[in-house]
Symmetry: C2
Subunit: 195 residues, 2 copies
């Protein structure tokens, strides 16, 4: 029984290695290369943990860490979707559902169900934990772009209005204190941007 | 107060981005490149979480995740030490202590103290949580090497005796059920290794 479970769990963990080869639209702070979704997952978790004191009351940092640990695994099959790009949202969602079926399906049934429920909760972005996790997932790229000279904002011709919609809306919902701190810094960056 | 704390916390989070550029001796499962310490941190956390049911009684998966989130950050200044390489252990430990002073020192004092205590606990490898975290940290490279044709075992001429000492000892201390499952698989791999 233990051995059977370990075989299934290790099959999942081995498959998860592929997340290190999923390349995002965001770049490292030193602008040396694009970021992959595995190292991004670690960095988002670190942000969620370090900034947990600024989360709305009732958020469980523990559950948020678990959610963020799993949140991008579906990209192994479905790929990463740049938030400033044009995508077919319905097609992307369908691909992610299939990816979740296959990838979490590698695990023992009880674990598959638990992890799928956690990922579904993250995707739904309705619970306080999921809203905070989603907000922090949107925070890391703006912080990187302010360090690396614009990064994906330059690549996608992103404006401050655009950021208010795509980053501000989820951050206002899930981490308003952090957004209140960040927003004037973003405005100053866009003001000083070379034209 | 909130703003001052956020400035310090974001300085730490920005500095932590450099962990994505610290290259380890281990390779990805598809053998396409060496692994970096940020993506490794994510993958180790996933292993610790998925395999938590096999941990000794009393281990807190929550604390282990927090420990592993932080465990390699000192490598930003001190570099990664391949476990099969020859290193000056005292010099490496001194470098890591200085790195911990500088990096955790970027945070507000209360957080610096809490994170340093967690990292010190991991390094000491005496608590049940730290022993499990250390065991899982040793598990990921053997799993990768069995997938990628030998990887760092080939690079460092590693034998099964060597693995028993460097991997078996900490795994036996912190995750004996997983080691009992893994050991015959490692033996079979070394038996079938092309000479």
């Amino acid at each position: 029984m233990t051995a059977d479970r370990l075989v299934a769990q290790v099959a999942f963990l081995n498959e998860a290695d592929k997340l290190k080869s999923i390349i995002r639209a965001s770049r490292l702070h030193d602008n040396s290369r694009f970021e992959n979704s595995a190292e991004h997952s670690w960095h988002v978790m670190l942000h969620a943990f370090v900034l947990a004191e600024h989360a709305p009351e009732g958020v469980s940092a523990t559950r948020v860490l678990q959610m963020l640990l799993l949140h991008d695994i579906v990209e192994i099959d479905a790929g990463d979707t740049p938030i400033h790009g044009d995508v077919d949202a319905a097609a992307q969602e369908a691909a992610e559902q299939l990816a979740a079926d296959r990838l979490f399906g590698l695990l023992p049934a009880d674990q598959c169900a638990a992890y799928r429920a956690l990922w579904d909760e993250f995707e739904a972005a309705e619970s306080a934990d999921a809203k905070y996790a989603k907000a922090i997932d949107r925070l890391t790229t703006p912080l990187a772009n302010m360090e690396n000279g614009g990064g994906s904002w330059t690549d996608y011709n992103v404006t401050l209005d655009h950021l208010d919609a795509r980053v501000g809306t989820p951050m206002q919902r899930g981490a308003p204190a952090i957004w209140a701190w960040l927003r004037p810094r973003l405005a100053a960056w866009f003001d000083g941007r070379p034209s």
